[in-house]
């Protein structure tokens, strides 16, 4: 810009200089020509006067052109160089013109033009023209005319001023134009160039000004779009890289964890394997011990019946009977354990009064207790609410706990069986690896009211590190050679599982020498108010009491022992498949293979969920759905339609809660069933 300005200014200056110079020269020449013309015209006039030496006429002639105001003077010289006429100084007539200027003029017989400094230093043009005799070169005199150069100089100065002004104007305009151009084109181009360099250095955050004229604007926009796209793709790559690294890290960690888990699982499996093997050995021992007595005493009685007294025979038969009983109980325990293992332990719960369970249990054990002079006390809260339990299984648990207590309590000890209301299922942390008392607890949702049952003894107590093991299936095994186990140790494992199945918890609190307290909780049987009201409104007139009780049992069954699912499909394999899918997860299932059967079952059982096929002979799924929804007793049961048809809308319009296409995904089906119950 600066260079450009200098160039423009110098160009302009030289133009002005040349033009000025040329103008001056031309003007000077014109003035000279005018002066020569004036001098020639005077010369023509004064020729004759010179020839005749008519000095008066010559003086007059010299004064005549003075009217022309830039003519400063007119001097006429004769052929000897004497002043013959002088416009300004008539007195000098007759004097010799002897000044240097005159001498230069007289030395040349031709026109002489000189620039002189006049009075007060004002420049003037002195033009001398020789006056020749007509047709010859004989000089008869000279006419000198002084022309003032001041008007010319003034005019030239004026012209120069105009030129300078014009030049300055032009320079300014050019500079402004240049500046404009630079601002609109050069600077943006430079910016673009700089930005390009930055992009080349991978700096993609730079944005160029887009508000530019014409193609520059387009270029800038394209440039910005390009850097933006580049930046986005680079960001994406960076993100993907990071993500990839993260994934690799995660996967590595997961693999690591998996490996550790596998190792742990392997160790656990080995431990389980060892426990199982010990368990088998122990079971074998436990089965063989009563069998030994049975066989032995049977043989004794068979071999020589006459050698035995009547009382011996009675005693031996009694031994055989009790050992048979022991064997039977053991086998029944083993069956229970295998049921628990297979997840087939079933409890049919109903509202149960604990007194009615506890008393008969204690009755059968009193003889055993009496044999050790053990006192059995019962402390049951008379206001105790009924609990939700399977009476047979509950008896089994209580018998097992009291039997254990008798076994481990020395002579003349005391065993206390107590029951009282409780507000929570278990103290904090019951269960393995949770830091609380050793035991087992259900994971079913916590309820509002429980009953706490306790069997306390004054026995030897159990060391802390044995607490959890005693609830283990193979817990009692330990060192089988020296720690003579009392039974297979299955009793507590079975009892624990039964209690957990009931939605309760079981745990032990004991220390060596301080006796043991086995405690368990059972959910209180509460009648859902809404159910009772609905029932009453539907079946008014019937025996409300009986009805309420029956419904209570049904309601209780529903709430505790797994949700009931009614499976309706004319294809038996589907019913079987769904049953096998749902039963292991704790659902109770009822299958039926026709629409009419489905409606009857739905009314009878009021299941938690109905899984319904559409394409069935006679009454199809849509009709079943209509009938179910039109009966107030069954209208509220969620129905999951499971069909090969693709007509979700129709089923949903008829009141289906969920629609799943066959073939179904197990996980999806289970998720939906879970969501519905």
């Amino acid at each position: 810009m600066l260079y450009f300005g200098i160039i423009v200014i110098s160009l302009m200056g030289s133009v002005i200089y040349v033009v000025g110079k040329r103008h001056t020269a031309v003007m000077l020449e014109l003035t000279e020509m005018r002066g020569v013309a004036v001098a020639n015209s005077i010369a023509a006039v004064v020729r004759n006067s010179l020839l005749s030496y008519d000095y008066v006429s010559l003086q007059q002639a010299s004064e005549t052109p003075i009217h022309d105001n830039d003519v400063l003077y007119v001097v006429i010289l004769d052929k000897e160089g004497m002043v013959a006429g002088h416009s300004g100084e008539p007195g000098r007539q007759g004097q010799r013109a002897d000044d240097p200027t005159s001498r230069r003029i007289l030395a040349v017989n031709d026109v002489v033009i000189q620039t002189l400094n006049g009075s007060a230093g004002k420049p003037l043009l002195d033009i001398a023209v020789p006056v020749h005799v007509q047709g010859t070169a004989v000089r008869w005199g000279t006419v000198r005319v002084g022309l003032s150069l001041e008007p010319l100089l003034a005019s030239l100065a004026q012209t120069r001023l105009v030129l300078y002004l014009l030049g300055a104007g032009a320079v300014i305009i050019v500079l402004l134009a240049a500046r404009f151009f630079s601002r609109k084109v050069t600077v943006p181009l430079q910016n673009l160039a700089r930005a390009t360099a930055l992009v080349a250095k991978c700096d993609l955050d730079h944005v160029v000004e887009e508000n530019l004229v014409g193609e520059l604007g387009d270029l800038a926009r394209c440039f910005n779009t390009m850097t933006n796209d580049l930046k986005q793709s680079q960001d994406a790559i960076r993100y993907h890289n990071q993500h990839l690294e993260q994934i690799v890290q995660q996967r590595t960690a997961a693999l690591h964890q998996k490996a550790q888990e596998l190792e742990k699982a392997n160790a656990e499996l080995k431990e389980i394997d060892r426990l199982k093997s010990d368990f088998l050995s122990n079971v074998s021992h436990e089965l063989r011990t009563p069998l030994t007595s049975i066989r032995s005493f049977t043989e004794i009685m068979l071999d020589d019946p006459q050698a035995l007294t009547e009382s011996e025979r009675r005693e031996f038969l009694g031994i055989i009977a009790t050992q048979t009983e022991r064997l039977t109980r053991l086998i029944s325990d083993l069956l229970d354990i295998s049921r628990i293992e297979a997840g087939e332990m079933r409890c049919r719960v109903e509202a149960v009064h604990l007194q009615r369970i506890i008393e008969p249990c204690l009755e059968t054990l009193r003889t055993l207790a009496a044999s050790k002079q053990i006192r059995v006390r019962v402390e049951i809260d008379p206001e105790l609410p009924t609990v939700l339990a399977d009476p047979d299984r509950l008896s089994q648990v209580i018998t097992n706990l009291v039997d254990n207590a008798i076994k481990f309590t020395p002579q003349r000890g005391v065993i206390t069986v107590a029951a009282q209301p409780a507000s929570q299922r278990a103290p904090l942390g019951v269960g393995p690896e949770r830091g609380g008392p050793a035991g087992m607890t259900s994971t079913a949702p916590e309820r509002q009211a429980y009953v706490l049952v306790e069997v306390r003894d004054t026995g030897m107590g159990i060391p802390r590190d044995h607490h959890q093991r005693i609830f283990d299936k193979f817990g009692q095994v330990g060192n089988v050679l020296t720690d003579k186990p009392q039974g297979t140790g299955l009793g507590l494992a079975i009892s624990g599982n039964i209690i957990v199945q009931h939605g309760g918890a079981i745990w032990v609190e004991s220390a060596p020498g301080e006796g043991s307290a086995f405690r368990f909780t059972l959910p209180v049987a509460a009648v859902p108010e809404s159910v009772r009201v609905t029932r009453r409104s539907i079946r008014s007139g019937e025996s409300l009491a009986a009805d309420a009780e029956q419904h209570l049992v049904q309601a209780l069954e529903r709430t505790s022992a797994g949700k009931q699912v009614l499976i309706v499909d004319d294809e038996p394999s589907i019913v079987v498949a769904l049953t096998e899918l749902l039963e292991p997860l704790g659902y109770r299932t009822v299958g039926c293979q026709s629409g009419s059967q489905a409606i009857a079952k739905a009314r009878e059982l009021e299941p938690d969920v109905i899984i319904l096929d559409i394409m069935m002979p006679e009454i199809d799924g849509y009709d079943v759905l209509r009938l179910l929804k039109s009966d107030p007793a069954t209208a509220g049961i969620p129905v999951m339609v499971l069909s090969v048809l693709e007509d979700r809308d129709k089923a949903m319009a008829l009141g289906a809660t969920e629609y799943i296409r066959k073939p179904f995904e197990k996980a999806q089906l289970l998720e939906n069933v879970r969501a519905l119950v």
């Binding site: 030994t292 004794i300 071999d303 050992q323």
Partner: protein, 133 residues
């Protein structure tokens, strides 16, 4: 039932199951043997020191001391090593049988046993053909 006689062969039976003790002693006494029963390892050891039996019948699983330990003690004791040891056990796995024989037992009987079989084994142990120290 015959009365114990000092010249009758003396058999020591150790088992923590009283019913087994009862039936075994009925069977052996019926065959004219003198039987002493104890219900744990420590008592068995004391009884062994008191009077050396011809034959011992040890249960493997007992409270304070296992039959295997007792068997090892007997076989390593210079005064007792020639006592005929019959292990009686409800642990009937092959591995356990080998364990018993490795401990130096002379015979091994699994529960539930036949009375006759047990008696036969004890009688064989008492037979005169058996080399005497």
């Amino acid at each position: 039932m015959q009365h114990p006689n000092p010249i009758d062969p003396y058999i020591l039976v150790a088992d923590d199951d009283p019913l087994t003790l009862k039936s075994v002693s009925i069977v052996l006494r019926g065959a004219g043997m003198r039987v002493v029963t104890v219900s744990d390892g420590a008592a068995a050891l004391a009884q062994l020191r008191r009077e050396k039996p011809r034959v011992v019948v040890f249960d493997v699983m007992m409270g304070s001391m296992s039959g295997l330990d007792l068997c090892r003690l007997v076989k390593s004791d210079a005064a007792l090593h020639d006592v005929y040891v019959i292990l009686l056990t409800a642990r009937a796995m092959q591995r356990e049988r080998q364990e018993g024989l490795a401990a130096g037992a002379d015979d091994y009987v699994s529960k539930p046993f036949s009375n006759r079989d047990l008696l036969a084994r004890v009688q064989r142990a008492l037979a005169p053909s058996r080399p005497r120290p």
